[in-house]
C-alpha cells in the first residue's frame, strides 16, 4: 500500500475525532475523541517519517504518546471530580457559567 492511504486514514480518524468532540455529550467520550485525534496525528507522523526516510517522525510519536498519557491522568482526575459532585458527566449539565 502506498503511504498516501495511511495519510487518508489519519485524516479520516482526525475528522471522526473532531466531530465526536463537537457532537458527543459525555465528557469521557469527548475526551476519548480527543485521544483519537492525537492517535491520528501519530499515524500521520509515522507515515511522513517513512515517506521522508527518517526516524524523526517515529520519535515524535513516542513523545506524543507520553504527553497523551499525562493528559489522560489530568483529564480523568478533573472529570472524576465533577462527576462526584454532580453525579453526571454530561457536558451539557455543566452550565452554571454562561453569558
Amino acid at each position: 500500500m502506498s503511504p498516501g492511504h495511511y495519510l487518508a486514514l489519519s485524516a479520516i480518524l482526525f475528522t471522526i475525532g473532531a466531530l465526536g468532540v463537537l457532537v458527543r455529550r459525555n465528557a469521557i467520550v469527548v475526551f476519548m475523541c480527543v485521544e483519537l485525534m492525537l492517535n491520528a496525528t501519530n499515524l500521520a507522523f509515522v507515515t511522513f517519517s517513512r515517506m521522508h526516510g527518517q526516524l524523526d517522525g517515529q520519535i515524535i510519536a513516542f513523545f506524543v504518546m507520553v504527553v497523551a498519557a499525562a493528559e489522560v491522568v489530568v483529564g480523568l482526575a478533573i472529570i472524576m471530580t465533577i462527576f462526584r459532585t454532580r453525579r453526571s458527566s454530561s457536558v451539557d449539565d455543566a452550565n452554571l457559567l454562561k453569558y
Partner: protein, 531 residues
C-alpha cells in the same frame, strides 16, 4: 537534522549513539523553575502538613527570583543569539525579554496565590480548597476546613506551569513547542478547579478549559504533523527554508499552517477561539485567573511571534489577510460583548480578549518595531491585569469575592483608595495617556501603520473607544451610586496589598517614563529571533 542523521548513521554502523550536547547555563532559568517544581512535589511527599506552606512559599519565591536574576545575567553579559540543546530551544533577545516578563509577573501572581488572609469576612484560609478531593458541601469538606487544612499542591503545580510558559516562547521546533504547551496547560487545568468557594463553578471551569484545551492542542499537533510532512523537519528554521525553496506540497503547507494557528490562537484567546476565556476566568480562583491573564498570555504571544516571525515569515502574504480578519474580529467582539457583562471577572476576560486583538496588530506588522511594540505591550498589560484581579480578590462579602458589578456600587464612598486604584487600572486598560496602556497601544499601532495596516489600526482605535465605555461604566457605578447597606467589605492581606502596589507602580512608571523599557524591548529585538 544533523544530529538525527548522525544517530541514523551511528545505528547503521552498530556504534554508540552520540550524546546530545546541552548548554545547561543557557537554559538555566527553565531548569531552575522546573527543578523547584520537582522539589515542591518532594516537599508535599515528605514534609508534615503543618510545615508545608512554610517550606513551599520560600522555595517558590527563591526559584522564580533566582531564575529572573539568571535571565538578566544571560541577557546582560553575553547578549546571546543562538540555539541551545541541539537546536531545540532558542536563546535570543526577544525570548529573554519574554521570559523575564513571565518571571516577574509570576512572582507577583505568587504573592496572590500565597495570600492566606485574615479571619474576617470570608477571607480566611486563602483562595484554594482545603482538600480538593472532598465533595463540595460534604461533611469531609467541613471537617478539613475546620481542621485548617490548605492545599499546598498549588505551589509545585504553579511552578510546573511557569516552567512550561518559559519554554513555550523559547521552543525552536514544533515538538518542543507542543511539549511546552502541555507542560504549561496541564497544571493550569488542575489549578482552575481548586477554588475554595463557589467550587461548582470552579470545577466546571476546569472541565471546560481541559476539554477545549485538549481539543485545541490536538489541532496544533496535527498542524505540526502536516508541516513535518511538508518540510521533513519540525524545526522552525527548516520549515522556513523549505518555504523559501518553494518545494513540496502547498496543500500540506497551508493546511498545516491553518491547524497550527488554531492551536496557537486558542491559547491567546483570539476570536473565534475565545469561548473558553470568560468561563475559565470567571470560574477559576482569582489568583490563578491573574496568572493566566498575564503569564499565559505573554507566553502564548511569545510562541505566536516566534512561529510567525521565524517559520512563516516568508509566507506572510498568505497568512496576513487571515490574521487581519482574526485581529479585527477579536478587537470588535471583545469590546462589544464586554458591554453587556455584569460580573467583573467576566468583564475583564472580555477585556483580555479585546487586548489579544490589539496585540495581534503587532504580530501582523511582522517588523522589528512590531516585535518590540508587542513585547512592551505584553509587559505593560501583564502588570495592569494582575493588579486589577488583585483588587477583585480584596472586595469580599460573606460568600467570598463579591465579583458582581452591582455589589461594587458605591465602593468609592466606602473605600476610596481601593476604588481609586481599580479605576486607575481600568483607565490603563482603556489606554488613557500617562498610563502604560496608552504607551503599549501606541507602540503596536505605530508599528502596524508603518507596515501599511492602517485600516486595522482604525478598527483598533474605534474598539478602544467602545471598550472605554464599559470601563467608565464600572467607574461610574463605583463612585456615583449609593452604597448598599450590606455591601461588601475590603479585606487587604499584606501580600495582596503588595501585589496591587507593584501592579500600580508598574502601570504608572510604564506610562509616565516608558523610555527605559521601550529601549530594552528595542534593544532585545535588534537581531530579532534566532533561526
Amino acid at each position: 537534522m544533523s544530529h538525527s542523521s548522525q544517530v541514523s548513521a551511528a545505528l547503521a554502523q552498530g556504534g554508540d549513539i552520540p550524546a546530545p550536547h546541552i548548554e545547561y547555563g543557557q537554559i538555566g532559568p527553565m531548569l531552575l523553575v522546573l527543578g523547584i517544581a520537582v522539589a515542591g512535589v518532594l516537599v508535599e511527599a515528605f514534609v508534615g502538613r503543618t510545615w508545608r506552606y512554610a517550606v513551599q512559599v520560600p522555595i517558590a519565591f527563591l526559584g522564580l527570583a533566582g531564575a529572573f536574576v539568571w535571565t538578566i545575567l544571560l541577557g546582560w553579559r553575553d547578549k546571546p543569539h543562538h540555539v541551545a540543546a541541539e537546536g531545540a530551544l532558542g536563546v535570543d533577545g526577544p525570548t529573554l525579554f519574554l521570559q523575564g516578563t513571565i518571571l516577574v509577573l509570576a512572582l507577583i501572581s505568587l504573592l496572590l496565590i500565597a495570600e492566606r488572609g485574615s479571619g474576617r469576612a470570608g477571607a480566611a484560609g486563602g483562595h484554594f480548597a482545603a482538600q480538593a478531593s472532598a465533595l463540595p458541601g460534604s461533611e469531609a469538606e467541613q471537617r478539613s476546613t475546620e481542621a485548617g487544612f490548605t492545599q499546598t499542591e498549588v505551589f509545585p503545580l504553579m511552578m510546573f506551569a511557569v516552567g512550561g510558559m518559559l519554554m513555550f516562547p523559547a521552543s525552536n521546533d514544533l515538538l518542543t513547542m507542543f511539549v511546552a504547551l502541555e507542560v504549561m496547560s496541564l497544571p493550569l487545568y488542575l489549578l482552575c478547579g481548586l477554588a475554595r468557594r463557589r467550587r461548582l463553578l470552579s470545577q466546571e471551569a476546569a472541565v471546560k478549559y481541559f476539554l477545549l484545551g485538549a481539543f485545541s492542542s490536538a489541532f496544533f499537533l496535527y498542524g505540526s504533523a502536516l508541516l513535518y510532512g511538508y518540510s521533513g523537519s519540525v524545526r522552525l528554521a527548516d520549515i522556513s527554508a523549505q518555504i523559501t525553496k518553494d518545494a513540496g506540497s502547498e496543500t500540506l503547507l497551508l493546511a498545516g499552517v491553518a491547524l497550527l494557528s488554531v492551536g496557537l490562537l486558542f491559547k491567546a484567546g483570539a476570536v473565534p477561539f475565545h469561548m473558553w476565556k470568560p468561563d475559565v476566568y470567571q470560574g477559576a480562583p482569582t489568583p490563578i485567573t491573574a496568572l493566566m491573564a498575564s503569564c499565559t498570555l505573554v507566553s502564548a504571544f511569545g510562541a505566536i511571534l516566534r512561529v510567525y516571525y521565524v517559520a512563516l515569515e516568508t509566507l506572510r502574504w498568505d497568512w496576513r489577510p487571515v490574521m487581519w480578519g482574526v485581529s479585527i474580529l477579536t478587537m470588535v467582539a471583545g469590546a462589544i460583548i464586554a458591554i453587556t457583562q455584569t460580573d467583573l471577572k467576566r468583564l475583564l476576560a472580555y477585556s483580555s480578549i479585546a487586548h489579544a486583538g490589539f496585540l495581534l496588530t503587532g504580530v501582523v506588522a511582522t517588523s522589528r518595531n512590531g516585535l518590540s511594540g508587542t513585547l512592551f505591550y505584553l509587559a505593560a498589560y501583564g502588570f495592569t491585569t494582575i493588579g486589577a484581579f488583585a483588587v477583585i480578590t480584596m472586595v469580599r462579602d460573606a460568600g467570598g469575592e463579591a465579583a458582581h458589578l452591582s455589589r461594587w456600587a458605591g465602593l468609592g464612598k466606602r473605600s476610596p483608595v481601593v476604588a481609586g486604584v481599580f479605576a486607575f487600572f481600568l483607565l490603563a486598560f482603556a489606554g488613557i495617556p500617562l498610563t502604560s496602556g496608552f504607551t503599549g497601544k501606541f507602540a503596536v499601532f505605530k508599528a502596524a501603520v508603518e507596515e501599511g495596516a492602517t485600516p486595522l489600526v482604525v478598527v483598533g482605535v474605534i474598539s478602544s473607544a467602545v471598550a472605554a465605555f464599559f470601563y467608565v461604566r464600572v467607574i461610574v457605578v463605583m463612585f456615583f451610586s449609593e452604597p448598599e447597606a450590606d455591601g461588601p467589605t475590603v479585606v487587604a492581606g499584606p501580600a495582596t496589598a503588595a501585589a496591587v502596589a507593584l501592579g500600580l507602580t508598574a502601570t504608572v512608571v510604564l506610562g509616565v517614563l516608558p523610555q527605559p523599557i521601550l529601549d530594552l524591548a528595542g534593544h532585545a529585538t535588534t537581531h530579532m529571533f534566532v533561526r
